[in-house]
């Protein structure tokens, strides 16, 4: 007989109480039931599989699409006292991979990217393992169709079958009914659903319409100069994130830095740590930022570009105000902004004509092109031309629907929160003055207590270098 969940929680983490959703998910898993846990960012989703892994023999295999994040997760697990943890993905060096493969059977927790698991040799090895639990992290990636879309996620259903349908935990921060159904369908599972509301009452929602790009930049500069930090500004382009960080630093005197997948892991580490240590007022980021960040006092999240769908928007604004204090999520919109996500999506979407020509003569195409690489991927996995055409048009409909929903939010005249929660099939509390400010209305940031009272301390560079070296030791 296993010890009670609460006893394990206390032993492993020293906590006496579960957070909302954790217990329900664990109870469902303990009953042998596949589980889809829709819990907001910061709700402690990882604890669910960590505790399950602690309580059961065998290996917990975690499939995660975020390469840069995977090593962070491994570090965190090691810090939490779990020793037999490893990660394999395309960033893992050949030598390191060899070492991990030799000890594959010994790990309690194994993180893997979907493309790694999709490789036949790897899958053969994994089949030999005794899996206690299969975890699909960021499960909404199965249905999302942004530039970060991972086609390998579509194979997970088949892979899961090959692994003899192990007990499966699907994790995501945000998923409406449609997304939930799609996840279950793709993974060939009928999961128990454990969901908490995505609403974050302490985050004031604001949409601001601007005339054009230059007015948008001005507005951003004004907001960053005015609002209490720390804050995060999200961009769709790495270049724009870098450029804006520089301009903001020069024009407003705030401590700003860029964070995106184009940085070296060392630079990403330093920027993250500076942010955590309160040395930065604002981070100009792409969607690569945020997952590994445990920072409770983010006061604002601004979106400079229109997000491609509500799921990512909810994830990203969810990084504000984890401490429960007043915070704000601002979406800046100039008419025509929807063109960018449309273009980004289309860049990866081949025309039926191209699909046809590719299937006829694959050798005539270069896989350097993202769209062709995607086709090559499907072809290699035996998906027929007709099915691929079908898949792409379904995806496109899905994507257009998601974008239209985003646009409806931007144009919402009355209550943004109601609009937002409706997208996740939730009821919203009645609108009030601390709820939201749709486009056209002027939010009173002072009244809301969001204006800056202090700036962060710049990174200390005082004293001579010997003194700075001294401080290290």
């Amino acid at each position: 007989m296993l010890e009670p969940l609460a006893t394990s929680l206390e032993k492993v983490f020293g906590f006496t109480k579960f957070r909302e959703g954790q217990q329900a998910a664990l109870t469902s898993l303990e009953a042998g039931q596949d589980t889809l846990a829709v819990l907001p960012t910061g709700a402690g989703k990882t604890l669910i599989y960590q505790l399950y892994g602690y309580r059961h023999q065998g290996c917990v295999l975690i499939i995660s699409p975020l390469l840069s994040l995977m090593n962070d997760q491994v570090d965190r697990m090691r810090m939490a006292g779990f020793k037999r943890v490893a990660a394999i993905n395309s960033l893992t060096s050949y030598r390191e991979r060899q070492v991990i493969m030799r000890h594959l059977g010994e790990y309690q927790f194994l993180f893997m990217s979907p493309e790694m698991l999709a490789q036949p040799q790897m899958l053969a090895q994994v089949k030999q393992l005794q899996l206690s639990l299969l975890v699909i992290d960021e499960a909404h990636c199965i249905v999302q169709w942004g530039p970060d879309f991972r086609p390998e996620y579509l194979l997970l259903g088949a892979i899961r079958t090959q692994l003899q349908q192990p007990l499966t935990l699907m994790l995501t921060a945000t998923a409406g009914q449609t997304t939930r159904q799609e996840i279950a369908k793709q993974l060939r599972s009928q999961p128990e659903i454990v969901a908490e509301s995505v609403d974050r009452p302490n985050i004031f929602l604001d949409v601001e319409q601007v005339a054009d790009e230059s007015e948008k930049q001005e507005r951003l500069t004004a907001l960053v100069g005015q609002l209490q930090g720390p804050g995060v500004v999200y961009f769709s382009s790495k270049q724009q994130a870098s450029d804006t960080a520089l301009t903001l630093q020069q024009q407003t005197g705030v401590q700003a830095a860029a964070y995106h997948a184009g940085l070296s892991s060392e630079d990403r580490f330093k920027i993250q740590q500076q942010f955590m240590a309160g040395q930065l007022d604002v981070i100009c980021a792409t969607s690569a930022f945020g997952m590994g960040i445990d920072k409770n006092d983010v006061r604002y999240v601004i979106h400079y570009h229109l997000p491609a769908d509500f799921e990512s928007y909810a994830q990203e604004i969810g990084r504000a105000g984890r401490d429960g204090l007043p915070s704000v999520a601002i979406l800046l919109y100039a008419s025509g902004d929807e063109q960018l996500p449309l273009m980004l999506g289309q860049a990866n979407r081949p025309e039926p004509e191209t699909i046809h020509r590719y299937y006829a003569r694959p050798q005539a195409f270069s896989e350097d092109d993202a769209a062709i690489a995607l086709l090559a991927f499907y072809k290699r996995h035996g998906i027929s031309e007709a099915a691929v055409v079908n898949l792409f048009s379904r995806r496109e409909r899905e994507r257009n629907r998601a974008l239209a929903q985003m646009l409806k939010y931007v144009c919402e005249p009355r209550c943004l929160r109601q609009n937002w929660l409706a997208a996740f099939d939730e009821q919203s509390p009645a609108h009030h003055e601390r709820c939201c400010s749709p486009a056209g209305m002027t939010p009173d940031f002072e009244q809301l207590g969001l204006l800056a009272s202090h700036k962060s301390d710049p990174v200390a560079q005082d004293g001579d270098w010997v003194a700075r070296l001294r401080r290290l030791f």
Binding site: D72, M79, V99, A257, K270, V459, L469, L472
Partner: protein
């Protein structure tokens, strides 16, 4: 790399090929690239920017040309400084102090090990047990872990501070400051190269070069066996010559002929000769058997025909009789030998 960085790598007399500089940085080590790297005195750049895109130097070169600081030669790939460019270079360009030895150490690995070791000891000095380690490769993590377990003591932080301080004091204060600010430690995330570049109004590349300068100085000092980092750096000292070329060189030094070596080692004679040229280029004069490979009559014949600056020498311009007697390999080796002795560079 920006225009100011490229400026430091050019010369007023010698036309330098951008492609050669690029190939050195990207570690595309053909014999021709190495030879010209030797002639440009830029071999220290080898492998320092493996991710550099092809053609990445074209834009900075254009900037220099537009400002009137550089001009192109027979092809747009060949660039040299104008008088104004040379003045600019003399006024602003900085050079690493320790560059001559960069080829002897796996500098990139040494940098990784140093950063992680400093972080680990800094956290240890502050009795911090839980922290995020810098993300590095497995080899670095293992090396630093083993080193730390063997060197851990109450005195370690103080010893490490003293030795780092004494190494950095040998460098210009700006360099010492940059190296210090790039470290990560307890309560100090450290700055990125871009952040330092911005605050100091210099380029990110020059910041990176300063860091390498610091790493090299520290590694050199760590060759003393009582230095706290001695064991951590020891395995990273290496011959600049590839293992395969070392084997060929060893066989030649035992008196074997190139053809014999090629047969025994099952490589093409041409490959064996390339090995020898690589070794000649990368090793000091005394470590290569010039006396055996360049016979006195050969030297006399080349000396009679090849006059003027080395860079103007061309094999195909030699008298036909000489070309019949001696190969391009002999010719190139002779040029390397002259280069190493400072002959032909007036």
């Amino acid at each position: 790399m920006e225009a100011a960085d490229l400026l430091a790598l050019l010369d007023q007399q010698q036309f330098r090929r951008l492609r050669v500089i690029e190939n050195l940085l990207r570690e595309k080590k053909t014999v021709s690239t190495l030879y010209w790297g030797l002639r440009y005195r830029l071999l220290y750049l080898i492998a320092l920017d493996k991710k550099m895109a092809r053609g990445a130097l074209d834009a900075p070169a254009q900037v220099l040309i537009k400002r009137g600081w550089a001009e192109t030669g027979e092809t747009p790939d060949q660039v040299r400084l104008t008088a104004a460019g040379a003045t600019e270079q003399a006024a602003h360009a900085e050079h690493p102090q320790t560059w001559a030895n960069w080829g002897m150490l796996d500098l990139l690995a040494a940098r990784q090990r140093l950063l992680l070791a400093v972080q680990v000891v800094s956290q240890y000095a502050h009795s911090a047990k839980r922290y995020y380690p810098l993300a590095t490769d497995l080899e670095t993590r293992q090396a630093v872990r083993n080193w730390f377990h063997q060197s851990k003591s109450a005195q370690l932080p103080e010893q490490l501070f003293d030795s780092l301080k004494s190494s950095l004091e040998k460098l210009p204060p700006v360099t010492a400051g940059v190296v210090t600010d790039l470290f990560t430690g307890h309560g100090q995330p450290g700055l990125t190269a871009d952040q330092l570049a911005l605050s100091q109004e210099r380029t990110a590349w020059s910041v990176t070069l300063m860091q390498f300068d610091g790493v090299m100085q520290i590694a050199q000092d760590a060759r003393e066996s009582d230095h706290p980092l001695s064991a951590l750096f020891r395995p990273l000292w290496q011959s600049p010559v590839t293992r395969s070329a070392q084997q060929t060189l060893a066989a030649v030094s035992q008196g074997r002929r190139v053809e014999q070596i090629a047969t025994v080692r099952q490589i093409k004679p041409g490959t064996a000769r390339e090995h020898l040229l690589e070794a000649a280029i990368l090793l000091p004069l005394a470590q290569f058997p010039y006396d055996w490979l360049l016979t006195p009559p050969m030297r006399a014949a080349f000396a009679a025909s090849l006059t003027g600056p080395i860079d103007t020498w061309q094999y195909t311009a030699l008298p036909q009789a000489l070309q019949d007697r001696y190969t391009f390999f002999d010719f190139r080796l002779y040029a390397i030998w002259c280069d190493k002795r400072g002959v032909g560079d007036a």
